[in-house]
């Protein structure tokens, strides 16, 4: 005890009653408001669950009946197909656009800029209708030498089916956003990394793939996952082209049966499942690209679960 500590004046508590320093116990400060907040949120959550389960208008039995109906499962597969094609083609083209935008060539830069400007500015639904009606603009499409003779010609109607139009629309729109996502990733890579690679004489393509891309991916992945999840739900706008993806299909069923709410729930449940799977995937992809960037990787949920179970067992055993 230092001399600065004043002895308590009230009562006769002599310092002799204080326990020795080694025996002091720590009492964490209490948070009464935290407990109140917990109680309020718990009640609200219970109310929400109750409202979902007990109101017969949600019609859960019908939801269960249609959730795995063959037409719905086929529609989910089409939604998945549109998403995968849209994101793959979108990001491939987006990467090309990003590289063009970062290039030293002013023509490539401005072409890329213009593409992004147009495809980000026009609403997706409008773009989809353009592609759907491409035959009105160009009756046939010919392949050959630019401004020269054509080798063969195809009717636009035969080349651009509604599915192709949908994929084209989604992918070209996605590419504009993907380009900016990829570009931001590359801008985030330290200039010194490229210099070191150049000084070591590592060939250009290898430098891109082995040094630049893996480091850029750390910034790209979270935003790209955002885009991907956005696209899963974004595919629902192609219902205007009468493609039987998930949203269109539930509409077909409820206009026939009149059970609007349960069918919307069916769609909601499937979208939820798809994005959940993607979010889990995102976690592992991010973890993979965190190699070397973090001193220790965070444990996966599975590892955390195992650690918790292990801890509980140890406590039970002792």
């Amino acid at each position: 005890m230092s001399e600065l500590t004043a002895a308590p004046r009230t009562g006769g508590d002599a310092p002799a009653h204080d326990p020795p320093d080694a025996d002091l116990t720590i009492v964490p400060s209490r948070h009464p408001w935290r407990r109140v907040a917990t109680a309020v949120v718990a009640v609200l959550a219970a109310m929400a669950v109750n409202a979902l389960v007990t109101n017969p208008a949600w019609d859960w039995p019908t939801v269960g009946q249609y959730l795995f109906a063959p037409s719905i499962v086929r529609a989910v597969l089409l939604t998945l197909q549109l998403t995968v094609l849209g994101i793959v083609v979108g990001f491939l083209l987006g990467t090309v656009l990003a590289v063009m935008r970062l290039s030293a060539n002013p023509l490539l830069r401005s072409v890329s800029w213009t593409y992004i400007w147009i495809f980000r500015s026009v609403p997706l639904i409008l773009q989809l209708l353009f592609w759907y009606n491409l035959a009105l603009l160009y009756r046939s499409i010919s392949f050959g030498i630019p401004f020269g003779p054509a080798f063969f010609e195809i009717g636009t109607m035969d080349l651009v089916s509604p599915l192709t139009a949908a994929v084209l629309g989604l992918a070209l729109h996605q590419a504009a956003y993907a380009a900016e996502v990829v570009r931001s990733g590359f801008l985030g890579v330290d200039q010194g990394q490229l210099e070191a690679a150049a000084a070591l004489g590592i060939p250009q393509w290898r430098r891109f793939r082995r040094i630049q891309l893996p480091q850029a991916m750390r910034t790209i992945v979270p935003t790209a996952a955002n885009e991907l999840i956005g696209l899963v739900k974004g595919t629902s706008v192609v219902y205007i082209m009468a493609l039987s993806e998930l949203f269109y299909q539930v509409q077909v069923i409820y206009t026939r049966t009149g059970r609007v709410i349960p069918m919307l729930l069916v769609a909601a449940v499937w979208y939820l499942v798809l994005t959940t799977v993607l979010s889990i995937g995102q976690f592992y992809v991010e973890r993979y690209y965190a190699k070397g960037a973090l001193r220790t990787l965070p444990p996966t949920p599975l590892q955390r679960l195992r650690a918790t179970i292990g801890g509980l067992r140890a406590r039970v055993a002792s």
Binding site: G192, Q193, A196, A199, L200, G201, I202
Partner: protein, 251 residues
């Protein structure tokens, strides 16, 4: 070994190098000294064409760096050829610039495999031997961020050596280090100097220059002010500017 003739370089309106002539003989250690902004780092970077020069040329082992001569014209070489030339010149950066997503061993083995097309197993064995030489065998499987600054710089030296370079360039290799870590990096460099590696070193470590350098070159405002053996330039400088710089650094 290294020959610079009439090298000029400007960044916009700022002329950083104003006619540099310098010769470095094989097996010698040359230390470049000078106040910040004197152009010594730019000079070093010009040697392996990380910085393109505006006028003059650089030769390493008799070969023009970055250019091909045709009559009275110098044509810039295609990127592929320049990369091949660079892979024979080791470069060690102030900020290490190790690849954070590759392990220590992968950092060392990447360029010999991808730039020189050497056999993976042979490069791996050579890489482990180099890590042993800089005293870091135990860290081969670690990622660079787990290492101290001094250890990282030693990995960077091993990475440069893995290319079996004819020439090693060091750009202020100890300036980003905590004072107690400078010694371990200088030890490795002294060891290299003794083994007869040709080195050009930009540094503020006067002690290292005195001990390991064959030639000390003092630069100021983009020109070589004086050069000679360390005993002469460091202990008995002829030029007033050299004296002023040395007294500022040493006191």
């Amino acid at each position: 070994m290294v020959e610079l003739r009439g090298v000029h370089k400007s960044f916009g309106a700022l002329e950083v190098l104003r006619g540099i002539d310098l010769t470095v003989r094989a097996g010698e250690v040359t230390v470049l000294l000078g106040p910040s902004g004197s152009g010594k780092s730019t000079l070093l970077r010009a040697i392996n064409h990380l910085e393109k020069v505006d006028r003059g040329f650089v030769r390493v082992d008799g070969e023009l760096i970055g250019y091909r001569r045709a009559g009275r014209k110098l044509h810039e070489l295609p990127e592929r050829r320049i990369l091949a030339q660079r892979s024979r010149i080791g470069f060690v950066f102030q900020n290490f610039n190790l690849f954070p997503h590759l392990t220590v061993l992968e950092n060392v083995t990447e360029a010999p495999v991808s730039a020189q097309g050497r056999d993976r197993a042979e490069v791996r064995a050579a890489g482990l031997a180099l890590l042993d030489r800089v005293g870091l065998t135990d860290f081969a499987g670690q990622y660079p961020r787990r290492l101290s600054g001094g250890q990282q710089q030693r990995v960077a030296i091993a990475r440069a050596l893995a290319l079996r370079p004819a020439l090693l360039l060091f750009d202020e290799p100890t300036s980003a280090l905590d004072p107690e870590l400078v010694g371990e990096v200088l030890d490795v460099m002294r060891d290299l100097a003794r083994s007869g590696t040709t080195m050009v070193v930009v540094t503020h470590e006067i002690g290292f220059a005195r001990e390991a350098a064959d030639t000390v070159v003092f630069l100021d405002e983009g020109r070589i002010v004086e050069q000679g053996p360390p005993a002469q330039v460091l202990d008995d400088p002829r030029e007033a500017r050299t004296r002023a710089f040395l007294s500022a650094v040493l006191h």
